[in-house]
């Protein structure tokens, strides 16, 4: 069915591994249907076309260079709806780990002696895109789940508000019938982390590192107490949040 009124969507990517775009691309069973409903006009990882007449922009990655600030702002001006795609974009994600160290040190750790040679390696503290522009919807996770990406896209096409969980991973764990990580002698931050991942890490024997960010109203004090009770020091307890929660915890402070 040819429909000239199809909404136009675009994908953009900033500082990230582009794994979340790959998740979107790997919705193979649904892509034919999706493509019958929307026109994709900009998607570097998938198509050559690059147009600027999009209505919905999915932005992946955090902002970590001055020029990216301008680019993100431009996208905001053009798009009616901006969706943050994945942890880097929605909470700052792993990239914010570097914010806690001096720039020179970070560069040296990664690039060794060559670090000084390249000017383009100078970056600003990594930040989620909502530190730069207003964001309408968030698709959390590292990486995003395909089902949630499709849910958000379908909801937007139907004019419905997407249902993004505002409850902790404990819920997903219970629904999955998992034994609690704490009972198995480990600790995790799932108690204050936004669910929606089906507790996949815990189901497969790992812990939750909080890639989907905090729930809206987490009881962090309760969690610090719990972690201490399970043998972690206060700083050890808090550092559990650092892998993904660097921006929420430190912001730009430690630059």
């Amino acid at each position: 069915m040819k429909n000239k009124q199809k909404p136009k969507i675009a994908f953009f990517s900033f500082t990230c591994c582009e794994g979340c775009q790959l998740q979107a691309l790997s919705c193979e069973d649904e892509l034919p249907d999706v493509l019958s409903l929307v026109d994709i006009v900009n998607f570097r990882e998938a198509i050559d076309e690059k147009r600027d007449d999009y209505e919905i922009a999915f932005i992946e990655g955090s902002v970590s260079r001055t020029q990216e600030i301008e680019e993100v702002k431009k996208i905001r001006e053009k798009a009616k709806i901006v969706v943050a795609l994945g942890a880097c974009s929605s909470t700052g994600g792993l990239n914010c780990l570097k914010n806690r160290f001096p720039m020179e040190e970070v560069k040296k750790i990664v690039y060794g002696d060559k670090a000084k040679k390249y000017k383009h390696l100078d970056t600003i503290p990594a930040r989620p895109i909502d530190a730069v522009i207003p964001v309408d919807y968030y698709i959390h996770g590292c990486p995003i789940t395909k089902s949630e990406f499709l849910h958000v896209l379908k909801s937007l096409l139907l004019g419905k508000k997407p249902e993004i969980p505002n409850y902790p991973v404990c819920v997903d764990c219970k629904l999955a019938g998992n034994i609690c990580v704490f009972e198995k002698g480990m600790t995790c931050v799932g108690t204050v982390t936004r669910a929606g991942c089906s507790a996949i890490c815990i189901t497969y024997g790992c812990i939750c590192w909080g890639c989907r960010g905090l729930i809206d109203n987490p009881n962090i004090e309760a969690h610090e107490e719990t972690l201490k009770r399970y043998g972690l020091t206060a700083e050890g307890a808090l550092s559990k949040f650092d892998l993904y929660g660097g921006w929420e915890r430190h912001g730009e402070k430690k630059q």
Binding site: N3, C27, E30, D33, V34, S36, L37, L150, H151, K154, L157, L158, G159, E163, N166, Y167, P168, C170, V171, K174, L175, G177, I179, C180, F182, E183, K184, T191, V192, I215, D216, N217, P218, N219, A222, H223, E225, T226
Partner: protein, 356 residues
Amino acid sequence: MEYRTLPKKRIASFVTGLLKEFKVYGPVKKDGFPMYGEITSPKDLYLLHTPTHLSPKQYLFPQKETLLRFKSGANPPPLSPSGGGQGEDIAPVVEAENQVLFGVHSCDIHALRLLDRVFAYGPPDANYLRRREKTAIIGVDCMPDKYCFCKSVNTTTADSGFDLFLHDIGSGFIVEIGTQKGKALLHKHTKSKKTTAKEIRKIVEFKNKKAELFVAKINAEASTLPLIYSGSYFSPVWEKIGKICYGCGSCNHVCPTCYCFDVRDEIKANLTEGERYRVWDACLLEDFAKVAGGHSFRKTRAERLRHRFNRKFQYQVDKFGGLFCVGCGRCIRTCLVNINIAEVTNELIEESNRRR
């Protein structure tokens, strides 16, 4: 009451027999912990277990289940805000198969009896009731751990709500016949012996021994608890436990009598067909009592805890005539900040005594 005796070694052949006819669910070991799971061989069964993490309610009221499938025949389709288009096709979905819940403790048997009343109340819940109809329940005696307080809420034994009930007497099991259905299953799938009076005395001995083993308890008669709770609405206890509560809903999810669910629609990528499903919800979660426009009826964790506790000891009792806490202790075991429903109740009892 009718009894039969089953030598221990016959349990395996009994389960094997049941497996020919039914899906069998019972306690299994997962990561070293007792958990309900599907039994595919008698060897899977971990019968003399301490309480499981989730209750067997999941086999009658699953975590997530489809309620109906819909398809819009209208073209161009999508479900418009004004309602359905022409040529809609809506089909209810009730998925139920013959199943046996094997090794259910008496607290959970009481809980299932309560759920039976809940799901039959008002418009009957077809999905639950159909599944219930196709379910046989085989109970088993148990020993309390330090969190069990069934003795305080009179659920240490069950006199109905099961098809068969196994009492461990060392050399074998005395099988208490609960229903004709249970009796037929027993005779069909195994050979049992007549139970002697001496053996029956062993059940009583076991019960007496068990009664002495409880560590956790509620310090008031079960029948007085609704009144105590009704006088405790403004107790400082709620603020105290609200402060340390995560609001994670784990207590709801492990509870054998919590039955709240959320109903959601998921439409396929073609935007013309989809399904409506329900998924467990939990009154401790922040968004549970949030309504259109963003207003929440129970904003604080303290309010939400108070609500849950009242549902167990007061509100539901008024409606369905029985305490909705069966003393299984699951919410205590699962709570990472040690909110203890028995201890909280004891604090309320103390406050209530001081008021008198």
